[in-house]
Amino acid sequence: MNIDWAALGSVFGVSLVVTVALVGLFTLGIVGLSKQPEPAAQGGSTGGSLMLARAGAYLCFGLCAAAVAYGIYLIVA
């Protein structure tokens, strides 16, 4: 009986890192999208950062979608 500790260790590490990274990315995306325009009193000067937040959010979602696609690829392959 030989237990493949290396494989178990890598499963442990990869699962941990990937899960935390994915959830973190996704949450960043959600937070980015949920940024509401500041109340009108602030004026329109925040438009740029809002755009940036949106773009960042979509980038995060894109990365998550890529991860899902890779997951499907793993299942099929």
Binding site: N2, D4, V11, S15, L16, G24, I30, L74
Partner: protein, 435 residues
């Protein structure tokens, strides 16, 4: 097909029945948290899971050549042994479903195979080392890995999303988390279809080979693939609501971010482990992820009594299914009448368990999220979570939602519930008395 003997036909039917119980037993893995956080309606969730299981069954042509993964020596396996193993696995699956505990269908199958093989050919036919590395260690490691990943992910998501305060934003983010949950639940379903449906295809193929219908090493015929896929999809669609309830809301109370973290962790662990050469058990990963996510939220509560019963069930799976498998093999060894007796016992046992389950039916109405899912986790909710007893496993003390007319109960408003838990209702009238 005219070469198929009666015994072979019985084995094939039994394998499909096992496939079916596997489907409805493991729906919870993919869909329990999705349902309990309200990301998908119960019926929609199981329908989606069933469809993905069916797709998954057809996806991969790389059928597992050895169903037992080297645990037992498959060379001298007789058809009766496979039959006895399946009987053990099915009965254990049904029993754990009756008490609403998630347990691994693969372990049940392995247990049945081990028991039947030992009874048939002695201990030498079982590779003890492989049992440890392929069954015991993964079963212990899976919940730890998935739980820790889910715990950290939940912490992280609450920290990053900590700035979200007002209701409108919380609603908006809940929608996002739902989408994420659906995606990861889909992955789990797909992976389940490819893995577990193929296990059944492997069994049927093996039976056909041992029965002399197929030549050794041949791929499963199309009708085997189709029927195995359909059986697992049908089982998934009927939904093991009892287990879904335990996993979705019995172990802990999950909010959308937690559900998302748990589901992502489970999907990642399953995929990572099966492709890094150290397969971890799906059921154990999912349960571990749910508990980890439950602990990750501040004020989150894990009901350790339910968790303990689940751990006990995990520990019993192998020996219990093994004992039944061994007993069944003892009977089938006696000759044709033994096979007949086992078949009758299987039908009778399944029927008895089904009758018992009807005494306290659990349907899709009982697993829907309680009240408004976007509602913030108030002190009261947490307190209730702490005092509410675990879902009944045959205990009669807990509220059971009774659907009066199945035809009209699709709108949850028409649902009639009998609150047997006055404390819950008084504290939070908006919550239906669903546990």
């Amino acid at each position: 097909m005219e070469h198929i003997t009666l015994l072979l036909a019985i084995v094939i039917v039994t394998a499909l029945v096992f496939d079916f119980t596997n489907g409805f037993h493991d729906t919870a893995n993919a869909m329990a948290t999705t349902i309990s956080t309200g990301a998908l309606k119960p019926k929609t969730a199981v329908a989606m899971s069933a469809a993905l299981n069916l797709v998954g069954a057809f996806l991969s042509v790389e059928v597992a050549k050895t169903i037992s993964g080297g645990i037992i020596n498959e060379d001298g396996l007789r058809t009766e042994v496979i039959f006895a193993a399946l009987v053990g696995a099915i009965l254990w699956n049904l029993l754990t479903w009756l008490v609403g505990l998630p347990s691994s269908s693969s372990h049940a199958l392995f247990g049945g195979l081990i028991g039947a093989a030992v009874m048939s050919a002695g201990w030498s036919s079982v590779d003890g080392g492989t049992v440890v590395t392929k069954v015991l260690l993964p079963a212990v490691a899976a919940p730890v890995v998935a739980g820790l990943a889910a715990l950290l992910a939940t912490r992280l998501t609450y920290r990053i999303g900590g700035g979200i305060r007002n209701d409108a934003q919380e609603k908006a983010t809940a929608k996002g988390y739902r989408a994420g949950q659906i995606a990861s639940a889909g992955l789990v379903s797909l992976a389940h279809g490819t893995n577990d449906a193929q296990k059944t295809m492997g069994i049927i193929t093996l039976a056909l080979v041992t029965g002399g219908v197929l030549s050794p090493g041949s791929n499963p015929p199309v009708w085997v693939i189709v029927s195995a896929g359909l059986a697992i999809a049908l089982g998934t669609y009927l939904g093991g609501w009892r287990i879904i309830r335990t996993m979705g809301s019995g172990l802990t109370e999950l909010k959308p971010p937690q559900g998302f973290a748990a589901q992502t962790s489970a999907a990642t662990v399953i995929l990572a482990s099966s492709h890094l050469g150290f397969s971890l058990s799906t059921t154990q990963s999912c349960s571990g992820a749910v508990m980890g996510a439950g602990l990750g939220r501040r004020g989150g509560v894990v009901r350790w009594s339910t968790a303990t019963r689940m751990f006990v069930a995990w520990g019993l799976t192998l020996p219990a299914a093994g004992l039944v498998g061994a007993g069944a093999e003892f009977l089938t060894k006696q000759g044709t009448w033994g096979v007949a007796v086992v078949a009758v016992l299987l039908v009778a046992g399944s029927g008895a368990i089904w009758l018992l389950s009807r005494r306290k039916p659990v349907g899709h109405d009982d697993v829907a999220p309680t009240g408004e899912d976007a509602e913030p986790a108030g002190v009261i909710t947490t307190a209730i979570a702490a005092v509410t007893p675990p879902p009944p496993a045959g205990a009669a003390a807990v509220a059971v939602a009774v659907a009066v007319a199945p035809a009209v109960d699709t709108t949850t408003d028409l649902k009639t519930t009998i609150p047997a838990q006055p404390g819950t209702v008084a504290a939070d009238p908006a919550r239906p008395a669903t546990v």
